[in-house]
């Protein structure tokens, strides 16, 4: 078939004209109407809760919110790419401390003021610091909850195994685990298949070994290092719990491990308050209680690790700033935070929330006397490689027996000393 010269030229002209006109038109189209907001999060498990809350928000304001959660492990990559490309959501969940400092320092988040979000004025400086920039010390997010890590247990299974008193030292804890195992019950639901949860397990049992807050202050100042024998002992404490985990622990993922505790197959689970909503979603009648991690030795102080779980921030490039601020104020409201405390097991940063869950209430009360900052999250996530990046796969190697606690501690020190000035040149 022969196409005439004229027709061919016509076709090319039409194609060029269409692309010239359509390009700017498409580019200038708003991402969404002003009364519709997009809201991203890493909490896939809380989707139903947020959708219910966004329906309440719509009733109050007429603003529609599209809540989209992404898989926790990929959230940073997805959000970074979207924000850098100039798109991204209007409102989003922000990682605490150094988790997203490069994004905040690059001006991707709207700096918040107490005029925009009055609830910020009621928060303590320590809480606010969790979602501030690193080089640019501005408030880029509304801190929403405090996380607490400790030891959860099933009182019914402990009774069934003949455990009469809760263990208060690490030695008695291991003895109780062995007793439970001998009764055919899985002593500890935790496994080694998920690297981040191993770091959290260490954050629960470790501080009493390395000396909690005084050690935290010393490594931050640079007067002590991660190769300290007490820090090495804290790593070893995680490995020593492996015999009490489910069989083939390396093949057990995070949700399976949590499911073992939720479905009353495992007596203990070491984790955070944020696990409780997942447990209850699987088994609403689960009897769950909580205790601080046992002391390293008789007389040693017991610690409860805590940190700001994250914040809610606004995209600096949002085309719906007033609506996004309205949403942030709703997320700071008593109504929303009470619902989050009741349904998600949050320990909200807002001071006026009543915690009804006895286990979570106990966690919150323990903070005043036993709270200690999550060493690797609060202190060492502002540079790369972070201590967590080394520790998480390191724990998998340690629990598999392919490295030692001393070698892992040495690697953590090497990573931190490569970028953290007070630790430079120290080994």
């Amino acid at each position: 078939m022969k196409i005439s010269q004229r027709r061919k030229r016509g076709l090319v002209a039409v194609a060029v004209a269409a692309s010239v006109i359509a390009g700017p038109v498409i580019a200038s189209m708003p991402a969404q109407a002003a009364t519709e907001l997009t809201f991203w999060s890493w909490r896939t498990e809380d989707k139903a809760f947020y959708e219910d809350q966004m329906a309440i928000f719509k009733e109050k304001t007429g603003i529609t919110v599209k809540f989209t959660p992404y898989v926790n492990t990929e959230y940073n990559a997805i959000l970074s790419t979207a924000l850098t490309a100039g798109s991204g959501p209007d409102v989003m969940q922000i990682r605490p401390y150094g988790g997203m400092s490069t994004l905040s320092d690059a001006g991707n988040f709207l700096a918040l003021t107490t005029k925009d979000v009055p609830a910020l004025a009621k928060m303590s400086p320590g809480t606010l610091a969790g979602v501030q920039g690193y080089t640019v010390k501005k408030q880029f997010g509304l801190p929403y909850a405090t996380s607490v890590i400790g030891v959860m247990y099933n009182p019914d299974l402990l009774k069934q195994a003949g455990v009469r008193a809760l263990p208060s030292t690490y030695e008695s804890f291991v003895r109780v685990l062995a007793q439970i195992k001998s009764k055919g019950i899985i002593p500890l639901g935790n496994a080694t298949g998920n690297a981040p949860s191993l770091e959290q397990m260490w954050a629960a049992v470790g501080p009493t070994f390395y000396g909690g807050t005084p050690f935290f202050n010393d490594v931050v100042k640079g007067t002590r290092t991660f190769t300290d024998k007490n820090f090495v002992a804290s790593l070893q404490a995680v490995k020593d719990l492996v015999p009490y985990m489910p069989a083939n622990p390396a093949g057990v993922d995070y949700n399976t491990a949590r499911g073992l505790f939720a479905n009353e197959k495992a007596a203990f689970y070491i984790g955070g308050n944020y696990e409780i909503s997942y447990f209850r979603s699987l088994n609403p009648s689960l009897n769950v209680a909580w205790m601080p991690a046992p002391a390293a030795a008789p007389g040693a102080k017991r610690y409860v690790t805590t940190w700001a779980d994250g914040g809610f921030g606004i995209n600096a490039k949002t085309k719906a700033k007033p609506e996004a601020i309205k949403l942030l104020n709703f997320l700071a409201s008593k109504e929303f935070n009470q619902a989050a405390a009741d349904q998600l097991g949050w320990i909200p940063t807002a001071p006026y929330i009543k915690i009804t869950d006895p286990a979570i209430s106990k966690m919150q009360k323990s903070l005043a006397s036993q709270g200690t900052p999550f060493l690797t999250v609060v202190g060492f996530r502002f540079g790369t490689p972070t201590s967590s990046v080394i520790m998480q796969p390191g724990f998998q190697k340690l629990t598999a027996g392919t490295t030692t606690a001393a070698e892992l501690a040495k690697d953590v020190q090497a990573a931190v000393s490569s970028w953290y000035a007070p630790q430079k040149g120290k080994s």
Binding site: G193, A195, N248, V252, P393
Partner: protein, 306 residues
């Protein structure tokens, strides 16, 4: 020499038809590849480009802790290439030869062999995750039923078995591809050679070794080069089954996963490392480009003219 009017017209029309494809390649492949090359020589703060850094990103890639990760990932990619070449290509060749000799039902078995190739990789990954589950997976249940409980293990969770298990899943999914390429190669060989050899009294084994296999060299070149490129850019299956950290403990880490992790960050990495990631990208590009070019040249030499 002047081109005739028709030829000039044909040439113009050829370029017109080629231009959409060329534009897509230039915009989405060539420009990103070249810019990545340049990114490797700058300082980066998140996704914001800083000042000229020379070879600093390459130095950092070969320093603690990236050096160990790089060497481990490189070793995994190399092992995967060898394993796929030995196992997948051999099985593919065997299947192709079996299909070639089938007188009835060749079409049906050809479809069956190729079917896993068209399955969604995500579905394949999750299906194998369920099959290999250490508690509820049928594979461990079968092993236990056979009276060998010590053989049951956390296939994807054990650092010793995770990578071989991924190679096996890859083989299950992709074996149909070399099989079809080899089958096409076998079908292209004139039956005159085979019949002449049979008249001369050659055995089936000898026909395969002396006639079919040497004449399959062009197919072998394609398979080897594609396997090499695929193995050194292996990302999808390890990502689905081991996450971006190459879990457990980096046992399934590959160069492409490391590139992704460095360039885009992870939950616990704090900031991303676009510069070091780009330096790694340059190395992957060089390894794959040089390897594929040298491989093609060497393999083409041993191809036999029919």
């Amino acid at each position: 020499m002047k081109l005739s009017g028709i030829k000039r017209e044909q040439r113009k029309f050829r370029w017109l038809l080629l231009s959409p494809g060329l534009l897509i390649i230039i915009i989405f492949t060539s420009i990103p590849a070249l810019t990545t090359l340049s990114y490797a020589f700058f300082e980066w703060k998140g996704f914001v480009r800083g000042s000229w850094a020379g070879f600093e990103n390459f130095n950092r890639l070969f320093s603690f802790p990236f050096r160990d990760q790089f060497l481990m990932a490189f070793r995994h990619n190399t092992l995967v290439f060898i394993a796929i070449m030995v196992l997948q290509t051999s099985f593919g060749l065997l299947i192709a030869y079996a299909l070639f000799n089938l007188t009835r039902g060749q079409r049906f078995f050809r479809t069956v062999t190729f079917l896993p190739v068209i399955f969604s990789l995500v579905i394949v990954g999750y299906m194998w995750q369920i099959l290999l589950d250490p508690y509820y997976g049928p594979i461990n249940l079968i092993v236990n039923e056979l009276g060998q409980p010590t053989w049951a293990r956390a296939w994807l969770g054990d650092t010793a078995t995770a990578l071989p298990t991924l190679v096996f899943i890859n083989l299950w999914r992709w074996v149909g591809f070399p099989a079809i390429i080899f089958l096409a190669g076998l079908n292209a060989i004139s039956t005159d050679y085979i019949e002449a050899a049979r008249i001369d009294g050659a055995s089936e084994g000898k026909i395969f070794r002396k006639i079919l296999f040497p004449l399959l060299a062009p197919s072998m070149t394609i398979i080897t080069v594609l396997t090499f490129i695929g193995a050194f850019e292996w990302f999808d299956l390890p990502y689905i089954l081991g996450g971006s950290n190459g879990s457990p403990a980096g046992a399934t880490d590959t160069l492409a996963l490391m590139f992704y992790r460095l360039s885009f960050g992870s939950v616990d990495s704090g900031a991303n490392e676009v510069g070091v990631g780009s330096a790694l990208g340059v190395i992957i590009f060089t390894v794959v480009g040089v390897g594929a070019a040298v491989g093609t040249k060497l393999l083409r030499r041993r191809e036999v003219e029919m």
